[in-house]
C-alpha cells in the first residue's frame, strides 16, 4: 500500500494540494483567500496532468535532427491540456477579482458573510 504512495508521490502531492485549494475556495470567508484557493486547486490539477505526461529519460516533444521515433519523446498532450487549462483559470480568476473589486467598492469589506448581511440590510 505504502509503496503505491511513494511511487506516485507527485499524484499524491497534487491531490493533497487540490484538497487544500478546494477547502479554501469553499470555506474561507475572505474573497481574496478564496481566489488563492481557486488557484491552488487549479494548479494542483496541472501538476497532476503534467506528471502524467512526463516519462523519465525521454526528451521534450520537439523534433530535432529529423528523429520522429515517438518512443524517444514524452507525451505532449497533457502539456497542451495544461496550457488550455491555464488560460481558462486565468480568465475565471480575472472575473473573480473583478467581482471582488465591485463588492469592495460597494461594501468596503472582503468578508463574504459580512457582505451577505449588508446586502440583506440594504433590501429590508
Amino acid at each position: 500500500m505504502l509503496h503505491y504512495l511513494s511511487e506516485n508521490y507527485v499524484s499524491v502531492a497534487a491531490m493533497i494540494l487540490f484538497g487544500i485549494g478546494f477547502c479554501n475556495l469553499l470555506l474561507q470567508r475572505n474573497m481574496i483567500k478564496k481566489i488563492i484557493g481557486l488557484n491552488i486547486m487549479d494548479t494542483a490539477v496541472y501538476l497532476f496532468l503534467a506528471s502524467m505526461g512526463y516519462i523519465r529519460d525521454r526528451l521534450v516533444p520537439i523534433i530535432v535532427n529529423g528523429d520522429t521515433d515517438a518512443s524517444k519523446y514524452i507525451n505532449p498532450i497533457p502539456s497542451g491540456l495544461v496550457l488550455t487549462g491555464i488560460v481558462v483559470s486565468v480568465s475565471v480568476t480575472a472575473l473573480m477579482l473583478g467581482i471582488t473589486v465591485k463588492l469592495y467598492e460597494r461594501y468596503h469589506t472582503l468578508d463574504i458573510d459580512e457582505i451577505t448581511m449588508l446586502v440583506r440590510k440594504e433590501h429590508e
Binding site: F18, G21, F22, L25, L26, M31, K34, L38, M41, D42, V45, F48, L49, M52, I77, P78, L81, T84, G85, V88, S91, V92, L95, M96, I99, T100, K102, L103, R106, Y107, I112, I115, T116, L118, V119, E122, H123
Partner: protein, 499 residues
C-alpha cells in the same frame, strides 16, 4: 446534402464570432445582430435535425481534418440537433419576452455587453451539445459559466453582484472536480475523444484494472456537474442568481444554462462510460437520492417564499431534482424521460419567468405575493402565461409537465428496482401536491381582483413582442404535452445513437 454536415460547426462559429463583434456595435445594432444570430442558429439546427433524421446514424465532423484519435471532433445525431434547435428557440423567445425589461434594467451603454454574453452563451451551449471531446467540453463549461455570470451581474445591484460571486464560487468548485475527473480518465484511458474513451473504459472494466480510479472519476464528474446545475444540496446559489436578475437572464439561466450541463452529463453517461458501467459505479443511486430529496425540499422551500421570482427559482431546484431522479433510475426509459423533462421544464420555466416579470410590471414593480393580487387581470398576456406555466409545472394533462411525469412513472414501473419504483412513485405524488400548493395559490392570487379599485388600471397594454413570445411559449408547452410521441421517438432514437 453533404453540405449540411457543416451546419453544427457554422452555428457554433457564428455565435462565437458575433460575440466580439457586438462589443464594437451600438446597443441597437448589437441587439439586431444577436437576434439574427440566434434565429439563424435555430434555422441551421432545425435543418441539421431534418438532415440527421434522414441519415442512418450520427455523423462525425472532424475539426481541422485530423483523424481520430488526434483531432477534435463534432458529432451530431438526432438528439444533439433536437436539443440545439430547442435551445435556440427558447433563447430567442426569452430574449423577445424580456427585451422590454432589459431596456429598463440595463443602462443603454451596457446593453451591447449583454448581447456579447448571450452570443457567447449560445456558442458554449451549442458546443456542449455537439462536442465529441471531453476536454473541449470542459473548456466550454467554463465559458458557459463566465457568460452566465455576466448575465446575472448585468443589472448591477449589490445583491446581483453578491449572487454572481456565490454562483462563481460554487461553479468553480464544480468545474475543479470536473477537471480532475477528466484528468484521471485521460490517465487511465489515454484518450479525450468520447468514442475512444468508451472503448478503453470497456477494456478497463473487462480486465478489472484501474477500476477504482474509474469509479472515482465517474463520481467526481457527476458531482461536479451536479453542483453546476444546482442539484440539491448544492443549490444554495440558485435562488439569488435566478430571482434577482433581469427577466431574460432568469429565463435563459433557468431553462438553458443548467440544462447544458445536464446534457453533457447524459452524454458522459452514454458516450464515455456507458450506462452499465455507470450503474456499476453506484453513481446512479447517489444521483437518484439527491434528485428525490431535491424534488421534495425544493418544493417545500418554494411554498415558504413570498416573492414570485424566488418561488419560481426554488421550483427550479425541484424540477432539476426530477431530471436527476430520472437519470438515477438506471433504466433507458428513465434517461428518455429526463431528456424529455429537460425540454418540458425549459419551456415552462422560461415562460414563468417572462410572465412573472409582466405581472410585476403592473404591480408597481413589486414581486411580492400580496402586491401581485389581480395582476393577471391588469396584464392578461402575462396572466395567461403564468397560468399555463403553472399548470404545466403542476402536471395537468395536455401540458408538457404532465407528459414528462407520466414518462417518469412509466420508467420507474418498467424496470427500475423495486425500491426505486416505490420511492419514485411516492415522490412524484408528493411533489405534485407540493407543486400544486404554491403554483395554484399564486395563480388564484394573480386572478383575484383587489378590493380597492384604484390599483386596477386596465389601460395597460403588453407589447406585441411580449404577447407573441408568451403565445409561442404556450404553443411549445402544448405541443410538448399533446404531440409528445414524435419528440419521444426522436429522443429514444438519439439516445440509441449515443451508444
Amino acid at each position: 446534402m453533404d453540405f449540411f454536415r457543416n451546419f453544427p460547426f457554422f452555428t457554433i462559429i457564428l455565435a462565437m464570432v458575433s460575440g466580439p463583434v457586438s462589443s464594437v456595435l451600438s446597443a441597437k445594432k448589437a441587439r439586431i445582430l444577436s437576434f439574427a444570430v440566434v434565429f439563424s442558429c435555430a434555422v441551421l439546427s432545425a435543418l441539421t435535425l431534418v438532415y440527421t433524421l434522414g441519415l442512418d446514424g450520427p455523423f462525425v465532423y472532424t475539426m481541422g481534418r485530423f483523424p481520430a484519435p488526434y483531432g477534435n471532433e463534432i458529432r451530431a445525431g438526432v438528439l444533439e440537433a433536437l436539443m440545439a434547435t430547442f435551445f435556440c428557440i427558447i433563447m430567442l423567445l426569452s430574449l423577445t419576452g424580456g427585451l422590454k425589461y432589459l431596456e429598463k434594467d440595463v443602462p443603454a451603454e451596457k446593453q451591447n455587453l449583454y448581447f456579447i454574453m448571450i452570443n457567447l452563451l449560445l456558442a458554449s451551449l451549442l458546443s456542449l451539445i455537439y462536442t465529441n471531446d471531453l476536454f473541449t467540453g470542459y473548456v466550454f463549461v467554463e465559458i458557459n459559466t463566465i457568460a452566465a455570470a455576466g448575465l446575472i451581474m448585468i443589472r448591477g445591484w449589490g445583491r446581483n453582484i453578491l449572487a454572481t460571486a456565490k454562483y462563481m464560487i460554487m461553479s468553480l468548485l464544480g468545474s475543479g472536480l470536473v477537471l480532475v475527473a477528466i484528468s484521471i480518465l485521460y490517465g487511465i484511458t489515454g484518450h479525450l475523444l468520447m468514442s475512444n474513451m468508451h472503448e478503453s473504459v470497456g477494456q478497463i472494466v473487462a480486465q478489472k484494472t484501474y477500476v477504482e480510479p474509474l469509479i472515482i472519476a465517474v463520481g467526481l464528474f457527476s458531482v461536479g456537474l451536479a453542483i453546476k446545475s444546482a442539484l440539491f444540496p448544492f443549490h444554495a446559489w440558485l435562488p439569488d442568481a435566478y430571482g434577482y436578475s433581469t427577466c431574460a437572464s432568469s429565463a435563459i439561466l433557468s431553462s438553458l444554462v443548467s440544462k447544458g450541463y445536464i446534457f453533457l452529463l447524459i452524454k458522459f453517461i452514454y458516450r464515455v462510460v456507458g450506462v452499465e458501467v455507470f450503474k456499476m459505479t453506484g453513481a446512479d443511486d447517489v444521483l437518484f437520492l439527491f434528485g428525490i430529496a431535491g424534488m421534495i425540499i425544493g418544493s417545500v422551500d418554494a411554498i415558504m417564499q413570498t416573492d414570485i421570482s424566488r418561488m419560481i427559482a426554488f421550483s427550479s431546484i425541484a424540477q432539476i431534482g426530477y431530471i436527476y431522479m430520472g437519470l438515477g433510475l438506471g433504466v433507458e426509459a428513465g434517461m428518455v424521460a429526463s431528456t424529455f423533462h429537460i425540454l418540458a421544464h425549459a419551456a415552462a420555466k422560461s415562460m414563468l419567468f417572462v410572465s412573472s416579470n409582466g405581472l410585476a410590471e403592473v404591480s408597481g414593480g413589486s414581486t411580492n405575493y400580496r402586491d401581485l393580487r389581480g395582476s393577471g387581470i391588469r396584464n392578461p398576456a402575462a396572466g395567461i402565461g403564468f397560468l399555463a406555466g403553472s399548470l404545466s409545472m403542476v402536471g395537468i394533462p395536455l401540458f408538457a409537465g404532465f407528459t414528462s411525469k407520466v414518462y417518469f412513472a412509466q420508467a420507474a414501473l418498467l424496470g427500475a428496482s423495486f425500491g426505486k419504483e416505490i420511492v419514485t412513485l411516492i415522490a412524484l405524488a408528493v411533489s405534485t401536491v407540493l407543486n400544486a400548493v404554491y403554483f395554484i395559490r399564486m395563480s388564484i392570487s394573480v386572478y383575484t381582483p383587489r378590493m380597492n379599485a384604484h390599483y386596477e388600471d386596465r389601460t395597460f397594454r403588453a407589447g406585441k413582442a411580449y404577447s407573441l413570445s408568451i403565445f409561442l411559449f404556450i404553443l411549445i408547452v402544448l405541443i410538448l404535452g399533446i404531440l409528445s410521441n414524435p419528440i419521444f421517438d426522436w429522443i429514444s432514437l438519439g439516445l440509441k445513437q449515443f451508444s
